[in-house]
Amino acid sequence: MFTIQEIIETIKMVQEENLDIRTITMGISLLECAHENNKIACTKIYDKITRLASRLVPVGEELEREFGIPIVNKRISVTPVSLIAGASSLEDYLPYALTMERAAEEVGVNFIGGFSALVHKGYTEGDRRLINSIPQALAETERVCASVNVATTKTGINMDAVFHMGRVIKETAELTADRDGLGCAKLVVFANVPEDNPFMAGAFHGVGEPECVINTGVSGPGVVKKAVERVGDGDFGLLAETIKKTAFKITRMGELVGREAARRLNVPFGIVDISLAPTPAVGDSVAEILEAMGLERCGSHGTTAALALLNDAVKKGGAMASSYVGGLSGAFIPVSEDEGMIRAASEGALSLEKLEAMTSVCSVGLDMIAVPGDTPVETIAAIIADEAAIGVVNQKTTAVRIIPAFGKTVGDYVEFGGLLGRAPVMAVNKFSAEDFIKRGGRIPAPVNSLGN
């Protein structure tokens, strides 16, 4: 049986340290919904999503009650819509986004991901139309999330797509300027995108995935932070060991909830994403874990090393705890969603350049970063290109979720509320990358031997 200490430890994790299951995400294949008549396609999409996901939210709430662990979000990811919508001759894919929105609303999920295209080597006609439809789609929906993969290690970086996404991000920010550029918080540009990621805004249901699947994402920075604090001034071995054990316990909850949800919904269980996902809640911060390790502020010298240790220990513990680990699986460092990151950025401890370095040792990338509204399109594209290069060369996922804050400049804040939080507008390098970005074409895939 269990000792009282074990039981209290679990209860405390939930009550005091913000342990929760961040998301149960149902992946749904829409491949069969493609149709040359877009109205028929949309009807099929709506019917399929609402049929398969009808019990997702009730089952999530049932598990929450029985296990006594909050399941913060129930979400849906679908096949990249460019693959489905490409069958029709429709130029503007907004109707597909509105259909996703209606279906999500009907089943009661707060986000639906998959308004996506994979263009790391080139565009299909459907990809081009989808990407052009993103700004309007994100402005006119609340729940729909979009993502575009512009690079992989095997194909290199599609710089035409990178430049295109720079323009799309700028346009999305403009169309949602009255909401501080909220549209951009629902848009991720990826390199090496995983096909089974349960976290928004980058989730979609890859073509190698089954008909329907349940993936889960855990949270738990608060739990890790408390554990790190208990290590005191112990050495790095003890620190890593403690984080590893804590990550194991956290991930076990994701495994349990994922398996139970899949069983009750009668769909296969996919993966647990072992990412440490922060929230704006006090104490639920990845930055504060790094600070608990001994850094005065996240962003100081030493931050990249501390994050590397954290990320690796979380993976080691998490991999042991779950039979199938997937998705992004690393520590997240979104600025707006993490109180410690917000503080570090506001106080000038954390710069965009340091964040970029940090993304080379963790998932997922420059996430929820607000930049001045007058940042040129080419600079945004160049930021994406840098991030993609880190991902492609290091054979890992990287992403950019950046918000040009219209009418705002360094020192101002953008406010989204809820899990998306708020972000200080950060300075970007003033020198131009225009001529570089405008070259066009692809950056070739890197050589994978000669690995220095």
Binding site: F2, I4, E9, E66, G68, I69, M253, L256
Partner: protein, 98 residues
């Protein structure tokens, strides 16, 4: 050995936290016996000045479902000024046993 009840997930852990007072066990036990729920184990201690009681119960023959029991316990907790919760035993097994 994993016995049948562990497998079927009918085991539940009730946790009571708060200020010690007369009638805590009686209050909780009464709810359980009224609904044909068997108590497998009880332990209690004072942790960091807080009264802590853990009960392991088996709901296999229970006359009410889990949600109803949880509601009754929470109501009792409010009456007595305590935090009373019920969670499936699986949560603890997954977290603390390899």
């Amino acid at each position: 050995m994993v016995n049948k009840n562990e497998e079927s997930g009918s085991r539940v852990i009730i946790s009571v936290l708060g200020q010690d007072r007369v009638g805590i066990i009686a209050g909780v036990s009464q709810i359980l016996s009224e609904h044909n729920i068997n108590i497998l184990d009880i332990s209690q201690t004072i942790m960091q000045g807080i009264f802590t009681m853990i009960m392991i119960i088996d709901m296999e023959k229970s006359s009410i479902d889990f949600a109803r029991l949880k509601g009754l316990l929470q109501q009792k907790g409010e009456e007595m000024g305590l935090r009373i919760d019920a969670q499936h035993e699986k949560v603890f097994r997954y977290m603390h046993r390899i």
